[in-house]
């Protein structure tokens, strides 16, 4: 279990959250346009589970369908999460800190 976990999500845990992450990772790895069949073949989940998760992620706009409706791509909400996780630029950070606690902002930059 230890070495497999270090390699990333394999969705061997039963939780739906891990399964959803596994689907997102698989779509990212295959690139835009990956089909349902390719995802079912790539993931250690039942077809019904993959369908259910894809439907949910598309409804929540974490995934989008290609114009022909057959393929999937990561949605803009995933990019928004990535931007939020990366945090603000250093100049933006100092500005935010300066607005909240001026003295502490100067100390943090030294």
């Amino acid at each position: 279990m230890g070495s497999a976990d270090r390699d990333g999500f394999l969705a061997r845990q039963p939780s739906a959250v891990d399964s959803a992450f596994a689907v997102l990772e698989a779509v990212a790895a295959h690139g835009p346009g990956v089909t349902t069949r390719e995802l079912v073949d790539a993931l250690p989940m039942s077809r019904a589970t993959v369908y259910r998760i894809l439907k949910h992620l598309v409804a929540q706009e974490y995934l989008v369908r290609t114009p022909d409706l057959r393929g999937f791509a990561l949605g803009a909400r995933v990019a928004a999460l990535a931007r939020a996780a990366a945090g603000p630029e250093p100049s933006e950070l100092s500005e935010q800190l300066a607005q909240s606690e001026p003295g502490r902002a100067e100390a943090s930059l030294t």
Partner: protein, 456 residues
């Protein structure tokens, strides 16, 4: 969800058919309600399979196009135009009728016939003005009206229970139940739920439409079904026939009753909400046709607030054809011709059957067909087939003749439209059933594709 609920007119259905159903069907009336709303819920699950995969203001027309192609789609499109227009007209004339009845119930004399026309035209203008203000304002108005109507239903329920006592458990017994009457009751209820899918036409104006549109359909059916069942039980503590026929719920034998006048005003507002929602759905359908280039392009233009103004006024004009026909045939604009509405609901059921039949080929084309979806489609098809058969071959032969005539007209018009498009715009006719595609801004760039051009 407000629009979907408004089209179902829960309080109106409950205070009308809901209360008299126990008398009409006899033992097992609640089975009719469960079967009728159950069929509508199965249809909602079928539409969910489309609505959760793409967003299209054409709703059932687009769903039929995706699965069965342009010809069936255009027939479904014509039936939707007819269905929504007749429903909107029914809402306008029903609101006028109930407003006049409220006046009489409050002690006023019988109003002249011209008042009916003034009310219908005035209410049509109000609907047009509200739709013009934008979807958020019209949705808010509809939500307030439906909340008021459900509160009214609860109040009437409380008064009846206090006056006549609680329903007995024996009313749920199936002893002496007639399966034929139960199924006839279910067929009637199924036709009361037509146009619940009209909220799908608002997908372009809704946040997270792939989630909210399917949820709105299911939730509105659950609310309406619950209200209807509650009204069934109320109809067992005291016969609802007199209430429904005299439009009196508080003072049943009184010719003048101010509380019942207030009830009628609320029901009139509920009918206005129905007209507003059906007109909105029709305008979006016409907008969708225009954007695909299959009707006049002017109907596909929007104003600064994103409202398709020309399509809206065209929809309202179409909705006035029902009351106009009534004033010619029945000499009263406040009465929709008796057989037109039931016949139109039959046409809508046929459309539902077409969409249910479209589900399997659509999912197969995406390689996403599962046994559950096939079972859903088959169940829905069998259900609407049974309802349509019953309405056409049932005891009301007048309705069946009008329904068959309308169905024939819809098919002929749809085929003629298809032939015209194939001759004049063959490339356009091959691409019917457009849906909203993901824009570049909706797609996340990924490191996996070397810079993330993706769908751009």
């Amino acid at each position: 969800m407000a629009h979907s609920l408004a089209v179902l007119t829960p309080s109106l259905s409950a205070l009308g058919t809901g209360m008299v159903l126990p008398t009409m069907v006899g033992p097992g009336f609640w089975v009719s309600t469960l079967l009728g709303f159950g069929l509508a819920f199965v249809l909602a699950l079928v539409f969910d399979e489309f609505a959760s995969r793409f967003n299209a203001p054409g709703s059932l027309y687009t769903y039929a196009a995706k699965g069965l192609g342009a010809t069936v789609a255009l027939v479904v499109g014509v039936s939707l135009v007819l269905g929504y227009a007749v429903l909107a007209g029914f809402g306008l004339s029903g609101a006028a009728r109930r407003t006049q009845a409220a006046w009489t119930a409050a002690g006023g004399g019988p109003p002249p016939a011209l008042v009916g026309w003034a009310l219908v035209l005035g209410l049509a203008l109000v609907c047009g003005w509200l739709i013009h203000r934008g979807i958020s304002r019209s949705s808010r108005a509809v939500l307030v009206i439906e909340a008021l109507s459900l509160a009214l239903l609860a109040l009437i329920g409380a008064v009846w229970l206090a006056r006549y006592g609680l329903p007995r458990l024996e009313v749920l017994s199936l002893t002496g139940a007639d399966p034929g009457r139960i199924l006839a009751g279910a067929a009637l209820i199924a036709t009361l739920t037509v146009a619940f899918e009209s909220c799908a036409t608002l997908g372009l104006e809704t946040g997270r439409p792939l989630r909210t549109v399917p949820a709105a359909m299911r939730t509105s059916l659950l609310i309406c079904g619950g209200a209807f069942l509650a009204a069934n039980l109320l109809g067992t503590v005291h016969s609802g026939r007199e209430s429904v026929s005299h439009w009196r719920w508080f003072n049943i034998d009184a010719p003048v009753s101010r509380p019942d006048a207030a009830v009628l005003v609320v029901l009139a507002l509920s009918m206005v909400a129905l007209a507003l929602s059906a007109s909105t759905a029709l305008s979006r359908l016409l907008f969708s046709f225009a954007r695909e280039g299959i009707i006049w392009p002017a109907l596909g233009r929007t104003n600064a607030h994103g409202v398709p103004v020309a399509a809206t006024w065209c929809a309202l004009a179409l909705s006035l054809t029902g009351p106009l026909l009534a004033s010619v045939t029945a000499h009263s604009v406040a009465l929709v011709p008796g057989q037109l509405l039931p016949a139109t609901t039959v046409i809508m059921c046929v459309s539902y059957g077409c969409v249910a039949a479209a589900l399997v080929p659509f999912l197969r084309s995406l390689d996403e067909l599962r046994p559950r979806s096939a079972v859903l489609a088959a169940t829905a098809l069998a259900g609407v087939g049974a309802v349509t058969w019953h309405r056409i071959t049932g005891p009301e032969s007048g309705v069946s003749h009008v329904a068959l005539a309308l169905l024939g007209s819809v098919v002929v018009l749809g085929l003629a439209w298809r032939l015209t498009l194939a001759r004049r715009a063959p490339r356009r006719s091959r691409r019917l059933g457009a849906h909203q595609e993901a824009l570049a801004g909706d797609v996340a760039p990924t490191a996996y594709d070397g810079g993330g051009d993706g769908l751009r």
